[in-house]
Symmetry: C2
Subunit: 517 residues, 2 copies
Amino acid sequence: MIGTQGFVRSVRLPVPALGNNIADAERLKAALKKELDTDRVVVPLGVVKNLPGLVRKYDHRLKTVLFRESFGWRVVSVQDPDGSDPVCGIALDIGTTRVVARLIDLETGKTLGESGFDNPQIRIAPDVLARIHHAKEAKGLEELRSSIIDSVNVQARELCEGAGIGIESVYLMACAGNTAMTHLFLGIDPSFIIREPYIPGVNMPDPMDALSVGIQLNPNARIFLFPNIGSYFGGDLIAGILCAGIHKREEPSIMVDVGTNAEVVLGTRDWLIACAGAAGPALEGGMSKMGMTAGPGVIDRVVIDPDTRHIEVHTIEEKPAIGICGSGMIDLAAQLFLSGMVDIRGKFSRERCGDRLVLKDGIATFELVLAADSGTGRPIALSQVDLNSLTSSKAAMHSILEVIVQQTAGIGFDDLERFYVAGTFGSFIDPRSAISIGMLPDIPLEKFQVLGNSSLEGSAKLLLDPDLFDEIATIRENLTYVELNVNQEFMNIFSGAKFYPHTERSRFPSVTIWGQA
Amino acid sequence: MIGTQGFVRSVRLPVPALGNNIADAERLKAALKKELDTDRVVVPLGVVKNLPGLVRKYDHRLKTVLFRESFGWRVVSVQDPDGSDPVCGIALDIGTTRVVARLIDLETGKTLGESGFDNPQIRIAPDVLARIHHAKEAKGLEELRSSIIDSVNVQARELCEGAGIGIESVYLMACAGNTAMTHLFLGIDPSFIIREPYIPGVNMPDPMDALSVGIQLNPNARIFLFPNIGSYFGGDLIAGILCAGIHKREEPSIMVDVGTNAEVVLGTRDWLIACAGAAGPALEGGMSKMGMTAGPGVIDRVVIDPDTRHIEVHTIEEKPAIGICGSGMIDLAAQLFLSGMVDIRGKFSRERCGDRLVLKDGIATFELVLAADSGTGRPIALSQVDLNSLTSSKAAMHSILEVIVQQTAGIGFDDLERFYVAGTFGSFIDPRSAISIGMLPDIPLEKFQVLGNSSLEGSAKLLLDPDLFDEIATIRENLTYVELNVNQEFMNIFSGAKFYPHTERSRFPSVTIWGQA
């Protein structure tokens, strides 16, 4: 089915005769216009060159690899209609931290391989801001650009080798990244993304020859980058919306992506509201810096018995504990709160914590894993300062949700049909725990859905379905971008949300706290 | 005027603000859509890369170099709105024998230089047919392609050096050649152009990056090749029509281009009829092989006094005669006929020629310049065989004109408002002489107009006027291509036209022959 509906189509050309002697390229165009029901098809020089020989060799039948462009369709390759050479594409998620590539058979839709690597730009400058500053130095932009392009080329070759195909069998590449990563990938001056009024160089790059970007695939391969809406709302989020399908549902649903920034999209098939960017100091040093990266020995789940206050921690690969990751932190905070060891103000309860609470440099610190049991020889602990930071983050998240859902869209949390959690944040989080601390709204658990790498998934979907280009256009048209202003009103909401789970206890009926049961 | 109507436009971009924060590329697009009154503008990656810095450096005013594409407009370059760097284009006539390039300032319309060179493909294979055969050999096509591309690059650099500008100041190139030359220039398989049913690889190549064709100009430069109608009606003729303006006149006019092939276009602003290709054996070895290439000592004009039969020859640069060129041949035939030295059957009159007519290898031969007066030490002579060949050629030309004007279009020669003579044939021909021998119809001399290199002129016009793209489309739409069949009917017409000036003497009332006055 995909083979006849996607980017690979077989067509039959009318056989030329003295009365019908239009050129080969124009006959191919005419056949494809009919097949694709379009009024514009481009056959580029790279395809025209050998077309006359191929048309006759394959007896006026051709398998064509196509791509959608802003103005219509473009022929990327023509080949043996009965040939068995694979026709592939690569979906690419250009993350600030990590880049993931997936090799896909465009005819069967099958994944032939997937692999990731750390974004090599990290070695040049750690975060988005530093990279944009580095790009201003002499050859800085080119250094950043070539580092990622070179790595993608290596990765693409390895993926192909792993799948036993040649790199020339890859005809399409769909990439999604945030606005800054997209600019750096293409070598576009990113300077003004971070300066008020925050203007990207481009929102909708037209599809390009892969070669013109420096990507080595089939010599005629095309590359598409998901468009961004603004400096703080990138193509990765458009890909995410596509992946979640928010833009196609009758009832409202929401997607929350917390990676380097916090981004929220809310809407239906008729309207979309997006809000992104740092929600002021509240989120600064918040979600993204919370906890360490997942790895062996990292605590990812915590259970505390409210009655006995017995603590059980689970570590990745069940190795001795060496630290705690983001989802573990949220689990820990939830369990501490539910067992009364953290009070509604987010402060450790000296009484309930008992011996586990110690003073360290004058700061109350909760020892989750004692030195004797840890993998580092030192206790794995959470200080009041760490907890305050988590409290700010969870309050900021809830405030953003309240502003966008209730104040901006004018609906209630109960009206949400689905709640998608994407990005690093979503990969491991336990919605139950996030609800318990008041980070996420108290809606039925079955409404939560983890999307994983929605940016990669959206890119992969696009490679198999040309209609998604229309959906992207619709998303861009329907989407209203809301600048989240950290004003007095926001700070009032934020203050209420700093309590556990919230000053308005009634908002979280499902949360049962020790001693209040 | 040209600067504000052509491919160079200055625009002012709205200054971004928090309420109007669309990206730079999209703001440029919006401004140009308004300026150009179009709904599609593409800003390619090469232009986007430095756009953010330039937009602010020039305070949101930009001079843009643009080009028309099949789907709308494309930005080729953005620069200092007050800058004095020249913005240039090159018009190129890709002749089978000779290639001519003209460097043009796109803002003033001024020609900055023009030069030509022999098509280097001649060294590989002399004519179109031989080149197409050579292209089938291993690397043959690439050899032909790179030879012309390399030479054009050398020529372009020399033209720029001569004009004191850098090659990066050339942003556009418009090229016109016949269908085979266009294919070889682009490296497209030309095999099927010469095989029934005579199918080109492409009729309308989309504009391309000059670099993708191997042409080294500004890195973002675009290249356009005039479209062809079929294997025997190339872009050079479309450029010719554009140059002559046949497609814009209310009354019918005609263009005759005799170079390697004979091509005729007839029409008005409402309809166009074209006919091209070899008119069978009649034209074979005809027009194109007639006489030698013009050069010092070559006879280009002949006058014979009908009464005294005194012969006066004019040679180029007035050097001693070494041969005779095409226009000299037609002059000679006309003068011989008008003075009764050649009869109405096209045979030398022994009585009127006298001593000048000798037998050479048993063939009657007319000595135009005696050995003593010639620059070669041998007589410059015209044999009955040479004259027969000229007779066939002139008869074929007249027959083609009769078929297309009278039979196909159903009008008379008197209805023609203009009669354009293009190509090598037109450059030097004396219409009076051509009428005398019955080659061209007997219409008032002031209707004849010599176009020179109409292919180059048409290309040059295009570089200054984007509206000509619409005219090209109209020409292609309105044009009916007529295959000239050499059937019995044509041969009957041809037989009558082999007489001097014609069997129907009344068709040439202005021709006064000695002894008939």
